[in-house]
């Protein structure tokens, strides 16, 4: 069978339009670099998930720093970001930022225009998948990219279900390295 199931089965795709699975961090980095106005959205699980001894949100911060990608801090992540010395560009909750993103005329968190690539890290997979469905259906003007270790069918680009956290850590580390590199 050639169908990929998401890790959490409540998120099984019922439809026709599924994410492209990418496992190569350099490909992800390439997509991010190519984006004009990327955005990183951080969710509540980034506060409770640890990976390689660090909080997930710290990976988020590192990713954002590489290319000065603005952060939207959802749930109560803003407080931790401030503790980490990062001022998020906005602090909408997840549904609110989605509600903005689906308007192509929205000015974006930096008032420079709506985003063309939105990266998600640290969401409950069910809420995340529902939110990505909104963007899949209503935001054809942007691409979505998930950074968690789960396959998200409603995203434009998703990782596969990583069996081990080590794979995920390696991917994120590689992504950061690639984003830092000057090459496109």
């Amino acid at each position: 069978m050639t169908m990929t199931l998401p890790y959490h089965r409540v998120n099984v795709l019922t439809g026709t339009k599924a994410a492209r699975i990418i496992e190569d961090a350099s490909e992800y980095a390439h997509l991010v670099k190519r984006a004009q106005r990327p955005l990183l959205v951080l969710g509540s699980w980034s506060l409770t998930t640890t990976l390689g001894g660090k909080l997930l949100i710290e990976y988020g911060v590192e990713i954002a720093k590489t290319l000065d990608i603005p952060i939207c801090a959802t749930a109560h992540t803003k407080k931790k970001l401030l503790e980490l010395g990062v001022e998020p560009a906005s602090s909408y909750d997840i549904i609110e930022i989605l509600n903005h993103l689906k308007d192509p005329a929205w000015k974006g968190v930096k008032k420079e225009g709506n985003h063309d690539l939105v990266m998600f890290l640290g969401f409950r997979t069910d809420l995340g998948e529902q939110g990505l469905s909104t963007l899949k259906h209503y935001a054809p003007h942007l691409k979505t990219m998930t950074l968690c270790k789960f396959y998200y069918p409603h995203a434009s680009y998703s990782l596969s279900n990583f069996r081990k956290d080590e794979q995920w850590k390696e991917f994120l580390d590689n992504l950061i390295t690639n984003l830092k590199s000057k090459e496109a």
Binding site: R9, V10, E83, D93, I95, D126
Partner: protein, 768 residues
């Protein structure tokens, strides 16, 4: 034209007759007994600000034999439907299911009680409640005086349902907004149906009314005395539960038989007798059934595991189903002799009995016979590693968990003797049992949970029903002016994203801050399932009055109508606005002036969808937990982009307030911390006085700083004049306002949407 001349206004005549229009307790407003089109302009006005937000669960439609149709991109189905309209259609369906669940319950209760007491039995809610039925008054225009009058309300509700269901048929509505308007209509009627149901129960069964300090009753499965014959009631409808209690009392068995309930029937039966026990919310249903401690399960309707007959049989518990909603394919014993029923049940037959008195007698007699033979022991922590011995870390259990819990890891730890992770899983478990079903090695996960569930018991205040008029009179002004910062209604099911104790945390936070906290259903239970250091639950710590800092269990699901009803009563009793057939004026009043906000943290059901949507039409915002994104639709504004112009009702001119209050009608938030911040904000209303606004902003700022670390970045939108700034945060706020270039906002004497959209309601109607 000839035809038109001949026509009478049949509808108006019929309505006037039903609502006794000639009785002049209040003038009849513009929309008595409204039909689908009648409040459509109000809905469209609401949705102009609070636009539907959709999160499809499926790319497709499979409703007819043209399908499946792919609705991605800008594709339309074979019938012409697009993805938004299909989502709205599914939302309407959910609201119809929810309303019908309450409506079917109300009809059943009403029928039973009219058989018992007669159609002319008077509605009397005690000496403190005179506005007995704000929904029936407002929506129908009828002041119900008897059980027979409640039937009229149900006739009307049923007459509307068929049109809504019809519109779901292929080739009907082509507009998402119009499907939403129908959903708002049906959900408004849900509150009417709930009100009918609960008023009937209160007067017909003699539940407490016109009293705040109802008894504290026992909760937790540990409160069941396992040495006694035990009857477990599951569902929402007390029609059989009450006769069970009566039978026990009439036969002097009060000390000999335990009656416990799961879900709302538990809340109902504890309103009838404080000797009954609340086993727990929906999420504990399968867990408790599988302990086998119940001798007899009596099911009624709604939120019952559909495999309950199978589960009961597995553990040797007898089962009686009692309603047409859930018959489980069982043989109908309604017309058999009770002796025969008891005999067959003791032989292992599960039965369907529609006669409540017969079912009651059978349940008690069977429980008395079965209990002595029951041999059930709980699993001990020591037994757990052995039960887990076949476990391999395949994680199928984790993958199928609807709450995304790390079940596999917890079993792995338990196998190695560490029960802490399993305890945590249990505390977040919503009770579906899929983990165990999926396990390829048949590890008895639910059984293992017995070792970590604990047998703690709690106290919960019995449901009290409607808010008293005198309470409204007292809090009306502070609520409308804003000096009581808000009414927080914590309602709905137990599909919580995290620990069950989060509900208690949220309730207490707002009670401490002197909001009025009201609760119903499984959430009312969950709020009691946490104790402070002295061993007290919030029901023991906070007063039961509808007043600042009160914590109130209003009752079961159908008692949600009293929460919305209380908001209506503020408009009526405090502001002296007539309710009668006056829905738009009352909803407009609540939207602009009553700082209430609902929270359904663990909503799972279609009833939750209709209850919330009914709140929304009435102008009450609702916050939902993360699972609720699966309802597919929210109503949200974009605070900076949207137009916040309202009419000044006294000045009769449009004013651009620039103030997004309330910001959303219904939204999902991801964490409890964010929920509290959002709820505090959603209590802000345009009518707040400076003093009231100061208080509301104090809490909004306080919660925001506490959980998000800074001042809110939309704070400037809620400060109209310098006098709105909370003294406690004055300096900090002033600095912030200066930084963002804040300017004073226009003054407003009486905010209203009337006059900003096509309506027959004259603007004078809103001036009281």
């Amino acid at each position: 034209m000839a035809v038109a001349a001949k026509k009478k206004n049949l509808r108006k005549d019929t309505v006037n007759e039903i609502i006794r229009a000639e009785d002049n307790w209040e003038p009849v407003g513009h929309t008595p007994m409204p039909e689908i089109p009648d409040l459509r302009n109000w809905d469209m006005r609401l949705m102009k600000t609070y636009k539907p937000f959709y999160a499809p669960m499926c790319d497709l439609c499979c409703f007819c034999t043209y399908g499946k149709c792919d609705l991605t991109g800008d594709k339309r189905g074979a019938c012409g439907i697009d993805i938004s309209t299909q989502q709205a259609r599914v939302v309407l369906l959910a609201c119809c299911m929810g309303m019908s669940a309450h409506g079917g319950h109300a009809r059943h209760v009403l029928h039973y009680l009219i058989e018992k007491h007669g159609r002319d039995y008077k509605i009397n809610l005690g000496d403190q409640i005179f506005v007995e039925a704000p929904h029936i008054r407002t929506v129908l225009g009828l002041k119900p005086e008897t059980l027979g009058d409640l039937e009229k309300a149900m006739d009307y509700v049923e007459s509307q349902l068929i049109h809504a269901i019809s519109s779901l048929h292929t080739g009907q509505e082509g507009s998402a907004l119009d499907y939403e308007s129908k959903a708002l209509h049906i959900s408004m009627l849900d509150h009417v149906a709930m009100e009918v149901g609960d008023i009937a129960q209160i007067v017909g069964f003699g539940y407490p009314t016109s009293v705040a300090d109802t008894p504290l009753v026992d909760m937790g499965w540990g409160s069941i005395d396992k040495t006694k014959p035990t009857i477990l009631l599951v569902g929402h409808n007390p029609v059989t539960a009450v006769p069970i209690v009566d039978y026990i009392n009439e036969h002097g068995l009060q000390d000999k038989v335990e009656v416990g309930g799961i879900c709302c029937t538990a809340l109902e039966v504890t309103r009838y007798t404080d000797r009954a026990k609340i086993v727990g919310p929906l999420s504990r249903q399968l867990y408790f059934i599988r302990t086998g401690f119940a001798d007899v399960i009596v099911t009624d309707e709604q939120c019952i595991r559909t495999d309950i007959a199978i589960e009961a049989a597995k553990v040797g518990t007898a089962l009686i189903a009692t309603t047409d909603k859930a018959c489980y394919g069982l043989e109908d014993y309604s017309k058999r002799e009770t002796d025969e029923i008891v005999k067959d049940m003791l032989d292992g037959k599960q039965t369907l009995i529609f006669d409540p008195d017969k079912a009651a007698e059978a349940a008690v007699r069977v429980a008395l016979e079965l209990a002595p033979k029951r041999k059930k022991e709980l699993v001990t922590p020591e037994q757990v590693p052995d039960l887990a011995k076949d476990h391999r870390l395949c994680n199928m259990c984790s993958q199928v968990c609807p709450n995304l819990l790390p079940v596999g890891d917890a079993i792995e730890a338990a196998k190695n003797g560490n029960l802490q992770p399993l305890t945590e899983v249990f505390n977040k478990c919503i009770g579906c049992g899929k983990c165990e079903q999926e396990c390829p090695r048949h590890v008895p996960i639910f059984k293992m949970m017995q070792a970590v569930a604990g047998s703690e018991t709690w106290k919960v205040r019995a449901g009290r029903g409607p808010i008293m008029d005198v309470e409204i009179r007292k809090v009306g002004a502070p609520i409308v002016l804003g000096t009581i910062p808000g009414i927080i209604a914590i309602v709905g099911c137990s599909n919580f994203p995290e620990e069950i104790s989060e509900v208690a945390d949220i309730a207490e936070e707002f009670a401490k801050r002197k909001y009025i906290v009201v609760l119903t259903g499984c959430s009312a239970m969950a709020a009691g399932m946490k104790k402070d250091k002295e061993g007290k639950t919030i029901y023991e710590k906070y007063p039961p009055n509808f007043d600042a800092g009160g914590v109130l269990n209003i009752g079961s699901c159908v008692a949600n109508s009293h929460i919305t009803g209380a908001a209506m009563k503020v408009a009526n009793i405090f502001a002296t606005l007539p309710l009668r057939g006056n829905y738009e004026v009352i909803a407009d009043y609540i939207l602009n002036r009553v700082g209430a906000c609902g929270l359904a943290w663990g909503a799972y059901s279609q009833k939750a969808a209709s209850i919330a949507t009914g709140c929304n039409r009435l102008g009450i915002p609702v916050v939902l937990g993360p699972h609720s994104a699966k309802y597919r639709r929210l109503y949200m504004s974009r605070k900076e982009e949207d137009d916040w112009t309202v009419m000044d009702g006294r000045e009769k001119k449009l004013v651009d307030t620039q103030e997004p209050s309330p910001e959303h009608l219904i939204t999902v938030v991801e964490s409890k911390e964010r929920a509290m911040v959002t709820m505090a904000k959603l209590c802000i209303r345009k009518n707040d006085t400076a003093q009231g606004r100061q208080i509301k902003l104090t809490h909004y700022i306080g919660l925001h700083k506490q959980h998000l670390g800074t001042l809110p970045d939309d704070l400037h939108l809620y400060v109209r004049k310098a006098s709105d700034i909370p003294i406690f945060f004055k300096k900090e706020v002033m600095a912030y306002l200066e930084k963002v270039g804040w300017k004073e906002k226009p003054v407003l004497t009486l905010p209203t949407l009337i006059g900003t959209y096509p309506s027959e309601v004259p603007i004078e109607s809103v001036v009281h």
